[in-house]
């Protein structure tokens, strides 16, 4: 239609017998001739997607970006927007001392709103990494690598996808499980019932376990391995009360011969500790872990957070973890305690610690719990005592199922504190949140077991409605 106008131009021109007609024609020719000139090439910092998946080095770089994403901006990081801090404040681990109220204050006060930045962050960051996992799986499918070359990469992608969905479902409850990169589908997914989510997590992890190697190339357990897949499987089976399966998976990790118990408390979090199943390496050699940077302080009052009085006072007497994994800071009148699992809090010549996501102690605790549930009291006590002994405590005196379960809650509390929100997820999973947080959190509301879905997400995707109860 617009060409008509040009044609009309030409008629007018022709009427006056002017060279313009020819000029316009020449110009049009010139333009069509120049079509190739309009090819802008590629920006210097980008690669064509297809090219990525023909080369193991670039696939590796694509996976690397998920690990750095996990470390720098995901749920499991130790910064004030990760679950270690936020769910620690939300449960009974941490007290809040920041002078200026930030998004984290709402977690401490149990006044989390759908517009809270961290609520957005958990959601968007995890799904962004899920997208990357899916892109790798789809890319490898099309790409030119052999099955041998791409198998381990696929295993990592399956594992990471499951791991990310696991945290999302723990925080928000029913969520969509995203398995493709197609935004036309992914822009209006519905929420999925929890059993289905667990089923998909299990499927992904079983595939991952099949494909993954026993150890990663670095030997530092900084990438997903078969052991990590088994550990996550064990955790999921525990959460879904599939005791037998949980026992099998945890036993596989404990007795697989890859990981070795670390008997010294002060060496558990060192990067070379043989009991570490999966850890995230800091961005550069010498950097401290995020948790080290955030928790450690030198003067009181604490600038950010400190362990709660209740947490400190309930340490069993003689528990070495109080002296080694926490530290007292006093200003003369008051005393505060900070988590001190990671000692390095600032950049040094080399990093002594990485950020640990799975370690053997948790797997022992998982197995102990399943053994109790299966009625295997003695074996369970053995596993519990493994933990107690290292902490300088005598063997447990609990003998009944109930007493042992209670002991397990306690050991999990003191063994796994300030690690990716274990305490909160335990309270939620064992339905203890009401009972334990009710008295210490004035604003506690039974609906607080789930975070609200991000407000922006509900606006953009109406099929996620309704909002979680209580928000």
């Amino acid at each position: 239609m617009k060409l008509n106008i040009i044609h009309r131009n030409e008629q007018v021109l022709a009427g006056h017998k002017i060279v313009g007609n020819g000029v316009l024609f020449i110009l049009l020719l010139l333009l069509t001739g120049c079509e190739k000139d309009l090819e802008p090439g590629l920006p210097s910092s980008q690669l064509i997607g297809e090219a990525i998946f023909d080369d193991t080095a670039t696939v590796d770089a694509a996976l690397t970006s998920i690990y750095s994403g996990l470390r720098d901006n995901s749920t499991v990081e130790g910064t004030p927007s990760g679950a270690t801090v936020l769910m620690g404040l939300y449960a009974d681990e941490l007290d809040y001392y920041r002078a200026d109220a930030q998004t984290d204050a709402a977690f401490f006060n149990h006044t989390v709103l759908p517009s809270n930045g961290a609520v957005d962050g958990f959601w968007n960051n995890n799904y962004a990494l899920i997208y990357q996992s899916n892109a790798i799986l789809e890319g490898l499918e099309e790409g030119g690598l052999t099955m041998e070359e791409k198998g381990p990469f696929m295993g990592e992608a399956y594992f990471l996808r499951a791991y990310l969905h696991f945290y999302l479902s723990q925080l928000y409850g029913e969520i969509p499980y995203i398995v493709s990169t197609d935004y036309t589908q992914n822009s209006s997914p519905s929420r999925m019932p929890l059993p289905e989510i667990y089923e998909l997590i299990e499927q992904d992890l079983l595939q991952a376990k099949e494909l993954l190697a026993v150890s990663d190339a670095s030997g530092e357990h900084i990438r997903a391995t078969k052991g990590a897949a088994s550990a996550l499987l064990a955790r999921c089976y525990l959460y879904t009360q599939q005791w037998e399966k949980a026992k099998t998976e945890s036993t596989a990790v404990i007795e697989g011969g890859v990981y070795v118990w670390q008997p010294e408390l002060d060496q558990v979090f060192l990067r070379e500790s043989p009991s570490i199943i999966w850890q995230l390496k800091p961005e550069f050699e010498g950097a401290a872990t995020k948790a080290g940077e955030i928790f450690v302080f030198e003067n009181g009052p604490p600038p950010l957070y400190a362990l709660t009085d209740l947490f400190i006072s309930n340490f069993e007497s003689g528990d070495l973890r109080k002296g080694i994994w926490t530290r007292a800071i006093s200003d003369g009148t008051d005393t505060w305690y900070h988590a001190f699992k990671y000692k390095q809090n600032t950049a040094l010549g080399s990093s002594s610690e990485y950020s640990v996501l799975f370690r053997l102690a948790e797997v022992y605790l998982i197995r102990a719990e399943t053994l109790v549930r299966l009625g295997n009291i003695e074996a369970a006590k053995n596993d519990i005592n493994k933990i107690r002994q290292r902490a300088g405590l005598d063997g447990t005196k609990a003998n009944s199922v109930d007493a042992l379960l209670e002991e397990l809650v306690l050991q999990r509390k003191y063994e796994l504190f300030t690690e990716q929100g274990h305490r909160w997820f335990d309270l939620k999973r064992l339905q203890l949140a009401n009972e334990i947080l009710g008295p210490v959190k004035p604003n506690w509301n039974p609906t607080d077991v789930l975070l609200p879905l991000p407000q922006q997400e509900l606006i953009l995707n109406p099929s996620l409605q309704p909002q979680n109860p209580g928000y």
């Binding site: 002017i18 309009l38 802008p40 970006s65 997208y131 909002q467």
Partner: protein
């Protein structure tokens, strides 16, 4: 085209014969040529050089000399025509006079002579068929502004401009005729002296984002406003379709000054000014504040103050009071500007040179400055036979901007009034034993930027045949910006225990270069009443942007913080080069009959590298028509008071390619972040190869009238723009892994509006002159169609039939007198308030009308100019600016009417310390409700300029002018907040008062 006609020998011979016979046949007639001379001056007796003195009906004449004098051989029967641009022409019969001295009167309303720059062509205001408005050098010079865009505020119909911050160097939001697109850029196309100018800032968000809203370090401030001759804004299809794919949001043409005559002319000017924040907010004093806090805790049933409630638990002195607005924002900013120009030349060659220097400080504490040095050089040459013309223009500037590490505006409004002192007695920052996050901490860091900008343009014109011209326009633009922002450990609370191993710096080096080449051919043809102009051209353009950004942390000492090589950790966050290529052919045919009927056809075919191979080219075009009915004899006789009347109308299409480069490719980018030594690769964006051009259809009709010899000139415009198939970044939910995807949206948006302009010369006496200009715009925006809106990601944002500028919010129904908590309307009746289900109330933040009113009054050597800007609009108010009332943080005094006990009727809910979840939630809902918006209409005394001219101070010819100018002087507004134009959390536009002196000789 004058003087092109060269008589051949034969013709000359014939002429001689005719003259001979005339002489011989009528021997009585006085036909002898005699020497006639005289001087032409203006109304103040200043000599006017360059005035054309022509003998009527004879192709002969001269121009006046520098002293205004002229001489000419003429006969007694000859009529001399004196004409000069901007003055009324005068006819004089020679008669028996040999000396003719006369004064020319200025003719500001000579429509024929107001020539507008329409980009590829020029058109007189009278004969234009499209909608073009302009602001001239005088209006710009009267305003003490650094950025040319600032000078346009309120001056043009259909052009809405907002300043985003009061910090020097910050940017402006410019919207021409409403919001055309749901999310894509609405920047107009800018062209400076024929070179397209990319308005995107080269600054990086992680370097300047916390200081400059949207990191928009406006590239326009490279240009000294006093070097600008005119700024034209093209609005309708007729004017913009020749810019095709980039014309949808309007076109802004900036033209720099040229030599004004043959005389060597110097101007020198110096000025200095004071700036400050014009409005403060009334906030709680310490007594009121602490009372609020106490109530908050008691309302929450807390008897013991928590350990981190330092303001009230006894940690901080409860008798202190500090007016933080005064301390943090109350400073005075200074500026100095110096400018010098020299221009002149001869009949064939002229030049214009301008150099300027300016500096400006901020209102914040600390040593901050913005400095700019700039130069402009222009050269024009016409070959002796006028067949060849060439002009060159070069503008260069260096800008240095040093700003504090953060904008303190938010702290100034929210710090508790009893917060501790800023400094200890020893002069160091006071952190009050770690309990006080000292707002001046950010001043330990610094932000610094350096920008060099170059704009070069060359134009050549060659006359092939009579009326047939070939032209070429070539331009080059280069701009480089280097910036850094330091975050030394000393800016943080020392109780974090940080040392210089935590100090960090962000740096960014950006550069942009572009070239354009535009060969053109034009033809003019005139025969009797018919006049035809034809233009055809080709345009090729390329732009490349490079960026190199780094983050470094961990220094042995803060003294090394500028040296990224000394950092223990160094990360290249971006290292990129992008290229944009663009090609087009365009044409224009303009036909007029009897200077009454005008027809203008424009067209363009565009190709852009931003689109994939299948959608690379698109066509645009427009048709404009005008009828100057005041030229019809019948009307002239019947309506003698109507000196000018025109109806014009236009219709056409334009597009928008502001989508970013390479968006049609599926790519992975490096993110610069290492994991175990490998730098990661991640998907750049969601990939959609199928997007195409968007289309913007514009229609316009206007009536232009002039009365009483054009003493009163009015224009009424009606426009209707519809944009469809919009190419936008469609927002997506997080489950897609991204925040959006570039796609075509089937939405149809309509922008309509009425625009009124009135210019009148109220008094025009020898010594007195008073003129008024008024403009008013009534815009309206409507979402006409949006197939499947309910199921799209926009379902909760837009409503068909309503403006796209609406926000869907909760409806606040007041504070429940029983519970003391904000209440909202439960639209869906499910017994609870939830977002988005109950966000069914609508608030529109687009202005319902806006405009300006200016008056210029001159008496003798005095001149005063006052300009008011006004807007009727709604904006976010101070209710949602800070924290929940009752939480640590100061509040506006409006919260004093908070609910106290059952039965209280009030609009402010009971205070909460943040631990009452219902009230915290209710306050959050309030921020998402219609109560968060209120009237932000204003009338602003935008500019006052008062000047006194002392004539003939140097060599009896030069003028000296003393002036005082003010910007943003007074604002009348019911707005609850600091400034209705403010970007929340950033410094509002400042009030400036400027004193200066200029010399012209």
């Amino acid at each position: 085209m004058k003087n092109n006609y060269k008589p051949t020998l034969v013709v000359r011979f014939s002429l001689c014969i005719i003259v001979f016979f005339t002489v011989t046949i009528h021997p009585i007639a006085q036909v002898t040529n005699k020497l006639v001379s005289g001087t032409v001056t203006d109304i103040d007796n200043n000599p006017l050089p360059g005035v054309n003195v022509l003998i009527k009906n004879k192709n002969r004449g001269t121009t006046t000399q520098l002293n205004g004098s002229w001489e000419l051989l003429a006969t007694s029967q000859d009529t001399l025509v004196f004409s000069f641009l901007g003055f009324k022409p005068v006819n004089k019969i020679v008669g028996n006079k040999i000396t003719i001295n006369l004064q020319l009167l200025e003719d500001a309303t000579a429509l024929d002579q107001v020539v507008l720059n329409a980009g590829y062509y020029k058109v007189s205001n009278k004969e234009k068929t499209g909608s073009i408005t302009s602001v001239t050098a005088k209006e710009i010079e009267n305003q003490p502004v650094t950025n040319p865009l600032a000078a346009l505020q309120g001056r043009m119909t259909g052009v809405n401009i907002q300043q985003t911050s009061g910090l020097p160097g910050s940017g402006f939001n410019v919207q021409i005729r409403g919001k055309n697109s749901i999310t894509a850029g609405t920047d107009p196309l800018y062209i400076i002296d024929g070179v397209p100018f990319n308005p995107q800032s080269l600054s990086a968000p992680d370097v300047s984002g916390n200081l400059i809203p949207s990191s928009d370090l406006s590239p326009f401030s490279f240009l000294n406003p006093t070097d600008i001759e005119s700024i034209e804004v093209l609005k309708d299809a007729d004017a913009t379709a020749i810019y095709g794919s980039r014309g949808a949001n309007g076109v802004v043409l900036i033209t720099t000054k040229n030599s004004s005559g043959e005389k060597i002319r110097f101007t020198l000017s110096a000025q200095s000014g004071l700036g400050g924040v014009a409005n403060t907010q009334k906030l709680l004093n310490t007594t009121q504040y602490l009372e609020m806090r106490r109530q908050a805790f008691s309302n929450d049933g807390m008897t013991e103050y928590p350990p981190n409630a330092y303001d009230i638990n006894g940690t901080w002195d409860q008798n202190r009071y500090t007016d933080w607005q005064k301390i943090l924002l109350g400073g005075t900013a200074y500026n100095q500007r110096y400018n010098a120009t020299v221009s002149g030349g001869n009949k064939n060659t002229s030049f214009f040179l301008s150099g300027g220097y300016q500096n400006e400080t901020t209102v914040f504490p600390g040593d901050n400055f913005y400095k700019r040095a700039n130069g402009l050089a222009k050269l024009n040459h016409n070959a002796a036979d006028d067949n060849f013309k060439v002009s060159l223009s070069t503008a260069y500037s260096i800008e240095n901007n040093k700003l504090p590490g953060g904008d303190l505006s938010f702290q100034a409004l929210t710090l508790p009034p009893n917060a501790p002192q800023l400094y200890k007695e020893d002069g160091s920052l006071n952190w009050e034993e770690g309990t006080f996050n000292n707002p001046l901490g950010v001043l330990e860091g610094e932000y610094k930027t350096k920008r060099n900008s170059l704009l070069v343009n060359a134009q050549m014109e060659y006359t092939l045949l009579k009326g047939l011209l070939i032209k070429a326009n070539a331009g080059y633009q280069y701009s480089s910006l280097s910036e850094y922002h330091t975050y030394p450990n000393t800016q943080f609370n020392p109780f974090f225990g940080l040392d210089s191993s935590s100090s960090a710096i962000y740096t960014n080096e950006g550069a942009r270069s572009s070239w354009i080449a535009e060969p053109q051919i034009t033809y003019r043809f005139k025969s009797g009443e018919h006049a035809l102009q034809v233009l055809a051209g080709f345009s090729a353009q390329q732009e490349s942007n490079t960026r190199f950004a780094q983050y470094a942390s961990g220094f042995a000492s803060n003294a090394l913080i500028r040296n990224t090589g000394a950092a223990s950790f160094l990360q290249v966050t971006q290292d990129d080069e992008t290229i944009y290529k663009y090609e087009a052919v365009f044409g224009r045919v303009n036909y007029s009959y009897g200077k009454r009927y005008l027809l203008n056809i424009t067209a363009r075919r565009d190709g852009s590298s931003r689109f994939g191979n299948n959608d690379r080219f698109a066509n645009f075009g427009a048709l404009g028509m005008a009828w100057i009915f005041s030229e019809e004899q019948a009307l002239k006789d019947k309506l003698p008071f109507l000196s000018y009347g025109k109806i014009r109308t236009s219709y056409g299409t334009t597009g928008n390619d502001q989508i970013g480069d390479y968006k049609y490719l599926d790519t992975y980018s490096t993110n610069g972040i290492a994991y175990n030594g490998t730098i990661g690769l991640s998907p750049t964006a969601l990939y959609n190869p199928n997007f195409g051009w968007e289309v913007n259809r514009k229609a316009e009709a206007a009536l232009e009238l002039g009365f009483f010899k054009n003493r009163i000139l009015t224009t009424v415009n009606y426009y209707n723009n519809r944009s469809s198939n919009q190419l936008v970044e469609v927002p997506l939910p997080g489950t897609t892994g991204f925040t959006g995807v570039l796609a075509n949206l089937d939405a149809l948006i309509e922008n309509t509006g009425w625009e009124f302009e009135l210019n009148s010369t109220n008094i025009k006496a020898e010594n007195w002159r008073w003129s008024t200009s008024f403009n008013l715009t009534l815009p309206e925006n409507k979402l006409l169609e949006f197939p499947n809106l309910e199921n799209s990601t926009y379902a909760n944002s837009y409503v068909i039939g309503e403006p796209i500028t609406i926000q869907k919010v909760l409806r606040h129904t007041g504070v429940d007198p029983e519970s003391g908590t904000h209440q909202f309307e439960d639209f869906n009746g499910d017994g609870q308030i939830s977002i988005p289900e109950d966000s069914q109330a609508q608030v529109d933040t687009a202005p319902t009308f806006y405009g300006g009113l200016g008056n210029t009054l001159s008496y003798g050597n005095f001149e005063i100019d006052a300009f008011f800007q006004f807007s009727k609009q709604k904006a976010l108010n101070n209710k949602v600016f800070g924290t929940t009332p009752g939480v640590l943080g100061n509040q506006p005094v409006d919260v004093l009417d908070a609910w106290q006990e059952p039965g209280d009727i009030t609009n402010t809910q009971a205070f909460t310390s943040g631990s009452n979840p219902e009230r915290s939630l209710a306050y959050f809902y309030l921020s998402q409700s219609d109560a968060a918006y209120s009237d932000a209409s204003y009338i602003r005394l935008k500019n006052v300029a008062l000047s006194y001219t002392i004539k003939k101070v140097i060599k009896g010819a030069g003028n000296a002018k003393v002036f005082i100018q003010g910007q943003n002087l007074v604002t009348w507004t019911p707005y609850k907040g600091q400034d209705p134009e403010q970007t929340q959390g950033f410094l509002p536009p400042l009030r400036w008062v400027q004193l200066g002196l200029s010399l012209t000789f």
